[in-house]
């Protein structure tokens, strides 16, 4: 099964400020932000009281009452978004053997929202050590083990092939798509419905990021609180959402006349083996992941037209990855537009990697690079072209998208047109 190439033929997005691919791209290309003061619960006791929330009604998106009862919000995002991706692909799944269709859903924190709510009930507000099983909801196990997300998506699309959740913290959304691509390359599947979802805006998540001061306390200015690469940045803004894709083997996608957004041309992950939350400023392991992804894509650094950055807006991250881009791409890093959509849609942990893949393929589709919003005063240590404030018309045939996550995970993916010229 060597030589099998993998392409994206369907895209779905559920993001803050943009449910559906079209609305999502509208937000990005106009440089609008979807960050706001938290409305899901009373944020008064917290240090950071801002989030990028989605106004999402599962009924409106066609989920049945029973689907809603048994699923956490993150699973609901995955379901709605997978259906959009499948419809977008135009693939008739009846035409594919069900066991040749797989599912790989990324998620960093699973059903955190549902677990937080249900814990509060079974513990009676934290009072009971021996939590009360008689108050547990019937589908609590689906929250306990988030592979239920993959199960829901598999049922929704009729997949009977290899199915799993990939959970590598904040790189989950790149790693799940990378995992899915491997399933097709090694012949385990012909089609994989993949992507990532997370819905972490709950008191326990907000509290734990408060404790390490990872999220921004810019509470008086929520619309402009996510400020990647800006000198005044002081942490990320928690977000939520999902992006899902249909991945197919290139030749069979061509045979059925599918619209091909991009090839998963290269993918690699590395660990920094340094610290669960800390990053060394040199960006060494991320640079190594980028080099390895370029090798797999058989592309030279000069072929990269756009870098979709992790750009979380923490002090350490933005320096770390700026170093990684220079280290891996050399001089070309200075001539390549780099942007962080987290400035607009926040940081949805495991989901964001897939949402950023969606932004990357839409940049290729439109030959427009989305901007970094709120970037007024660049950090002198962040000295690349970050496309401040306004989207840019830009010929985009190959994109590098990267992620960096707790646990030390560093991932890189190269998306490119399948008919590109390669170095090999």
């Amino acid at each position: 099964m060597t030589g099998r190439r993998v392409v994206i033929t369907g895209v779905g997005v559920t993001a803050p400020g943009g449910i559906g691919t079209k609305n999502f791209w509208g937000l990005l290309s106009e440089g609008r932000t979807a960050t706001r003061g938290i409305t899901f619960f009373d944020p008064t006791p917290f240090r950071s009281r801002i989030a990028a929330e989605i106004d999402f009604d599962p009924y409106e998106h066609g989920l049945t009452p029973q689907e809603i009862r048994r699923t956490d919000r993150a699973a609901q995002f995955a379901l709605v978004t997978a259906r959009e991706a499948l419809a977008d692909s135009g693939l008739e799944l009846g035409a594919v053997e069900p066991h040749r269709v797989g599912v790989a859903v990324g998620s960093a924190v699973g059903a955190t929202m549902g677990l937080d709510e249900e814990y509060r009930v079974v513990s009676d507000g934290g009072r009971l050590d021996l939590v009360d099983h008689e108050y547990a909801v019937p589908h609590l196990y689906n929250y306990f083990v988030p592979s239920s997300f993959a199960a829901e998506v598999a049922w929704a699309v009729g997949a009977e092939g290899p199915s799993t959740v990939v959970s590598t913290g904040c790189t989950s959304g790149i790693d799940s798509v990378g995992y899915a691509a491997e399933l097709i390359r090694d012949g385990s599947a012909d089609v994989v419905v993949t992507g990532a979802t997370d819905a972490p805006i709950s008191p326990i998540s907000v509290a734990c990021f408060d404790a390490i001061k990872a999220t921004t306390p810019r509470n008086d200015d929520p619309e402009h609180a996510s400020r990647p690469f800006d000198l005044t940045r002081n942490g990320f803004v928690l977000g939520e959402g999902a992006a899902m894709f249909v991945l197919e083997e290139l030749e069979s996608a061509r045979r059925r006349g599918a619209h091909i957004y991009a090839e998963i041309a290269g993918y690699a992950s590395r660990c920094n083996a340094f610290h669960m939350t800390g990053l060394r400023p040199d960006g060494r392991e991320m640079a190594e992941a980028i080099r390895s992804a370029l090798d797999e894509a058989k592309l030279a650094p000069q072929a990269i037209d756009y870098i979709n950055a992790h750009g979380s807006g923490t002090k350490q991250n933005d320096r770390h990855e700026t170093s990684a881009f220079k280290r891996s791409l050399g001089e070309h890093a200075f001539h390549t537009p780099v942007s962080s959509i987290k400035s607009m849609v926040g940081h949805s942990l495991g989901a964001i990697g897939s949402i950023e893949i969606a932004a990357s393929v839409l940049a290729m589709e439109n030959n427009v690079v989305p901007p970094t919003a709120n970037l007024h005063k660049p950090d002198p240590d962040c000295d690349l072209d970050y496309v401040p404030l306004t989207a840019r018309d830009w010929r985009t045939d190959a994109v590098l998208t990267v992620g960096s996550g707790f646990g030390g995970f560093q991932s890189a993916m190269v998306l490119a047109r399948p008919d590109r010229n390669t170095t090999a």
């Binding site: 083990v145 993959a150 959970s167 734990c208």
Partner: protein, 406 residues
């Protein structure tokens, strides 16, 4: 020809044995680690038994700075990883840092740690939530902590597919080796024996309420009444055979030869379950026929409907009573993502010693046409099939085979 992926080291933490030889001795002798729960008072819950890892004093095994930032499952995993690397005789300092990675499976993350922090949050307030909550409970934590502790910087990952995830992790580790990594530390170690984890599992309705440790978990028995959870698992050192030779590895347990994975159709679809398909794919991937398989390590769910599906799949592929089937997990309880890697490790020990370990306490129901091994059986074992299923419909199968190394 694909790269040969061999297993050169094993680290086991199991309720019936801490460390490989202690586990293997207990398993061969049908000694169980299932007992009334001691980690919390189970009296108020309908299910009261679990397979608990006994006598684990974390301070004896890990530096003190790691203890407050880790859940029990991570503590057990770190010890398992150390044992596996030691067993393989790998010196991680001398190897290519990007040539080695970590690929684990998790089911519910560090759930006990999470319970503690949720309790701090809701009983005291948000400022009482630990800074370690940002990573200590999440699904990726074991891979991250093992990577940091041993300086493994290569391709790494984490999968969550309930019990099937333990095999999915090994299969992906094999992919990573085939793509060019020299060594991947892979498997799973799980633990969620805390009230919050218990309540989550009780909602399945599939946990046994029998209070007798030798009668509660009886897969393939007419009296099967559900499962007993446990904690622990196994981590394996998987290497490119060429790389293992280069570094002078002296002992190889065997190779990961085949893998198949399927997902069951929705319960109301009217379509057949797909475990049999997963087995067929794994055998084809391994390039072996059913007749080559010397033993099947069953998933052994312990509830009549799931046992019937598994028995039907096994007899469908192999024929009636045509292959020995065993379930040593009757002595440990179901270990989440740790279960299948432990079965794979056990299969290698079976090959080493020419012994199929028994299924404890079970009298085979006449409904199943299986050759269930209920007492230690001395036969040569060259090829084994390991099955694992996850709640919701995940099915995975792995074929392992002995390797003539010297």
């Amino acid at each position: 020809m694909s790269t040969q992926v061999v297993v050169t080291g094993i680290g086991i933490v199991s309720p019936n044995g801490f460390g490989t030889e202690e586990y293997w001795d207990a398993t061969r002798a049908s000694r169980s680690g299932i007992r009334r729960i001691t980690r919390f008072d189970p009296e108020r819950y309908p299910s009261k038994l679990a397979g608990e890892v006994d006598g684990f004093e974390v301070k004896e095994h890990l530096p003190s700075r790691l203890i407050p930032q880790t859940d029990r499952m991570t503590q057990l995993a770190l010890v398992g990883a150390e044992h596996a690397l030691g067993d393989a005789g790998v010196s991680t300092e001398e190897a290519d840092e990007y040539g080695m990675g970590v690929m684990t499976a998790s089911t519910s993350g560090g759930f006990e740690f999470g319970q503690g922090q949720l309790q701090n949050l809701w009983s005291q307030g948000s400022q009482y939530v630990s800074a370690y909550q940002s990573f200590a409970w999440f699904y990726a934590v074991n891979t991250g902590q093992i990577s940091i502790r041993h300086g493994l910087r290569g391709p790494s990952g984490v999968v969550v597919s309930d019990q099937a995830g333990g095999l999915d992790a090994l299969a992906h580790a094999r992919r990573l080796v085939r793509k060019g990594s020299d060594l991947i530390l892979s498997g799973g170690v799980d633990a969620a024996i805390c009230p919050w984890g218990w309540v989550a599992q009780l909602t399945t309705g599939d946990m046994s309420t029998d209070e007798r440790p030798d009668r509660a978990y009886l897969p393939f028995d007419a009296e099967a009444s559900g499962y007993v959870p446990g904690e622990g698992g196994a981590l394996l050192i998987m290497e490119d055979a060429e790389a293992a030779r280069r570094r002078g590895a002296t002992r190889v347990y065997g190779e990961i030869l085949g893998y198949g994975s399927t997902f069951d159709p929705a319960p109301d679809s009217g379509r057949e379950p797909t475990l049999r398909k997963a087995i067929e794919i794994a055998l084809a991937d391994a390039g072996v026929s059913a007749g080559d398989v010397d033993v099947v390590f069953a998933d052994a769910a312990g509830s009549p409907e799931l046992d019937r599906i598994e028995a039907t799949a096994i007899t469908g592929v192999f024929g009636s009573r045509a292959v020995p089937v065993t379930a040593p997990k009757t002595m440990t309880g179901r270990l989440g993502s740790g279960a299948a890697p432990l079965d794979v490790a056990t299969a290698f020990l079976a090959m080493r010693d020419g012994v199929i370990p028994p299924t404890a306490n079970v009298t085979l129901s006449p409904d199943y046409d299986l050759d269930l091994v209920t007492e230690e059986r001395h036969v040569p074992v060259t090829t084994a099939l390991v099955l694992a299923r996850g709640r919701g419909g995940f099915n995975s199968a792995v074929v392992v085979r002995a390797v003539d190394w010297n």
